[in-house]
């Protein structure tokens, strides 16, 4: 408490107020030890650079995903989702698939998340949108936990192939995507068309000029 009082008395700029300062310090306190540990491990040579980056990205993704689910404010959740998507893009970079990483940034960072926030702002811009939990939350958490444990166990017990670190030329990627897998690509375009038309059809008001059916026939 004393610290807070001193903080409020200090002639600091407005942005260095209690919320931001304590929050920032807290986040720093949580993030710094693992970071230091990773860097120490790297310097000692226990892990490779790629592994170090992998752990950092994993931290970002998990934190972002947790934030997206647990934060009370929906816009904050959307922002956490963007962080998770960006972490995933980093994972793609680590797997030497530059193109996928950029697509991830362009589509999820620049497109999907933005539209999500756009929707949130349009529907509930007047007051802070707050998540209301149902009574099923414990069950959902339990199922999620069981599923997570089962998946983790399955993944860890599996005997995956050694990682392949060849860089695929994006021309080959394009040829595979647009020629070899042209059919699912086209079907996916139909899916998008359906989504687009459906969004318009559902959100349009009821009073579209239906009565011209008689006039025209």
């Amino acid at each position: 408490m004393g610290g807070a009082v001193v903080l409020n008395r200090l002639p600091l700029p407005a942005q260095l107020d209690r919320t931001v300062t304590t929050g920032g310090l807290l986040a720093g306190a949580i993030v710094t030890p693992p970071l230091i540990a990773l860097i120490v491990l790297r310097v000692l040579g226990n892990i490779s650079s790629a592994q170090m980056v992998w752990w950092m990205l994993a931290g970002v993704i998990v934190a972002g995903a947790l934030g997206a689910v647990t934060l009370r404010n929906v816009v904050h959740s959307a922002l956490a989702l963007i962080a998770a998507a960006m972490g995933l893009a980093g994972m793609f970079l680590l797997l030497a698939s530059e193109f996928l990483a950029l697509v991830q940034v362009l589509v999820y960072g620049g497109g999907v998340a933005i539209l999500l926030m756009f929707g949130l702002m349009l529907t509930n811009a007047t007051e802070d949108p707050v998540v209301i939990d149902g009574s099923q939350k414990p069950f959902a958490a339990g199922v999620g936990l069981i599923l997570g444990v089962a998946l983790t166990a399955a993944m860890l017990s599996a005997n995956w192939d050694a990682s392949i670190s060849t860089v695929v030329d994006f021309r080959d990627l394009g040829a595979r995507l647009y020629r070899d897998f042209g059919v699912p690509f086209e079907v996916a375009s139909l899916v998008l068309l359906v989504a687009l038309v459906g969004a318009v059809a559902i959100s349009r008001r009821d009073n579209d000029d239906d009565n011209d059916a008689e006039a025209a026939s």
Binding site: P13, G23, V75, L79, V105, G109, F118, M121, A125, F170
Partner: protein, 381 residues
């Protein structure tokens, strides 16, 4: 791991650090210069003098502005969301800054050459929208929210023609590597083969930058500065910095992709200084035209803006891509290929002009605003 910089082998981290620092300094100085030039150009168009008193011919005006902004108190509204409000400027600024990594200033003068350079640039700069939305929502201000919404709608709409027009050029250049695209234009700039793509790129660029006549998100008379209403001091100057840096980078990319960058018309052998002069001249031309458009054309209405993007620019850029694909896939003789590409482009430009002219000169019933019971407003015929 080392990397050559100015003829020396450097550790890769140090090399990156130096290059990025050069970019940061260049960007800041460039932005201050751009602001000064814009004010002078604007003044010239409006038959006044512009800044004259700060330094010789007002040259130090931007420095004075920057000093004032840095020294100004940075205020946050009580009800603003602290995190979103505080972090928004970085989300606007950093993506644009990251984009400079691939921009080729001259032969061998770029931070890194990426195979997917053009795509990287688009992906990186698309993230700055997050910052706009955050600024709009976090300010807890109606004008800011409306501005944020408008900016999202506009940017997402115009990103498609922008990307597609660049894609059309990338098809012709057979590369997404910006350095390769520029080097491939030693003979003739891409604008000759893709005039319509250039036009679409230029229009979409202005819209992406939220500059007049597409400054709907920040229009002073409508939303009093849009998402930035509540910002002041250093944070506001970061938005400003990002805006002009984006203008700079877009002009650079446009001049590199369409106008031949440092390669046209003299090729690679001319030496670094001349290449930089070429890049500067072409970029300045682009920027000047943007200023020129700003003072000449009045602001558009949001429905006109949307209709323009979705009904005109998007179909035409798709058509250009289809034509390019059809022409390039059959590997015709080079002369015929280029004739077809250029012909389709010119035809596209004329179609675009014709459509614009027709819709502008058509007598248009005024939209009537009818209050509806559920408090929404909508234009009816």
């Amino acid at each position: 791991m080392t990397w050559p910089l100015f003829g020396m082998d450097m550790p890769v981290v140090l090399d990156l650090f130096i290059r990025m620092n050069i970019i940061v300094i260049l960007m800041t100085v460039m932005v201050m210069g751009l602001i000064y030039i814009e004010r002078k150009v604007l003044a010239r168009f409006q038959m006044r003098l512009g800044p004259t008193r700060t330094g010789p011919m007002g040259l130090l005006q931007s420095v004075a502005d920057a000093l004032k902004l840095v020294a100004k108190e940075d205020v946050r509204p009580t009800n603003a969301d602290p995190w979103v409000f505080e972090l928004a400027p970085y989300f606007v600024f950093v993506p644009i800054f990251i984009g400079f990594v691939v921009v080729p200033f001259a032969s061998g003068l770029e931070v890194r050459v990426l195979d997917l350079g053009l795509f990287y640039l688009l992906a990186a700069s698309s993230v700055n929208l997050v910052g706009w939305v955050m600024a709009g929502w976090g300010s807890d201000n109606r004008y800011a929210i409306i501005g944020g919404l408008r900016s999202v709608a506009q940017s997402i709409s115009y990103e498609l023609p922008l990307v597609l027009s660049l894609l059309a050029v990338a098809m012709v250049a057979d590369s997404l590597n910006l350095t390769e695209i520029v080097a491939g234009q030693a003979g003739a700039p891409n604008i000759l083969w893709q005039p319509m793509a250039f036009l679409i790129f230029f229009i979409a660029m202005i819209a992406e930058l939220n500059r007049p006549p597409f400054d709907i998100p920040v229009g002073e008379s409508e939303v009093v500065g849009g998402p930035f209403v509540e910002y002041s001091g250093i944070r506001w100057s970061m938005f400003f910095l990002a805006e002009y840096a984006a203008l700079f980078i877009m002009a650079l990319v446009g001049s590199a992709v369409f106008l031949g960058g440092w390669a046209w018309p003299f090729g690679e052998q001319l030496g670094l200084p001349w290449q930089i002069v070429l890049t500067t001249v072409k970029t300045s031309m682009m920027i000047f035209v943007v200023f020129w458009v700003r003072v000449t054309v009045p602001r558009m209405r949001i429905d006109q803006l949307m209709a323009f993007a979705w009904k005109l620019l998007l179909p035409l850029s798709f058509a250009q891509i289809l034509v390019n694909g059809a022409v390039l896939v059959y590997e015709l003789p080079s002369g015929l290929t280029h004739a077809l590409l250029a012909g389709s482009g010119v035809a596209g430009v004329f179609i675009m002009m014709w459509v614009i002219n027709r819709s502008v000169s058509r007598p248009r019933p005024r939209p009537v605003l009818i209050p509806r019971t559920d408090q929404t407003w909508e234009a009816t015929r």
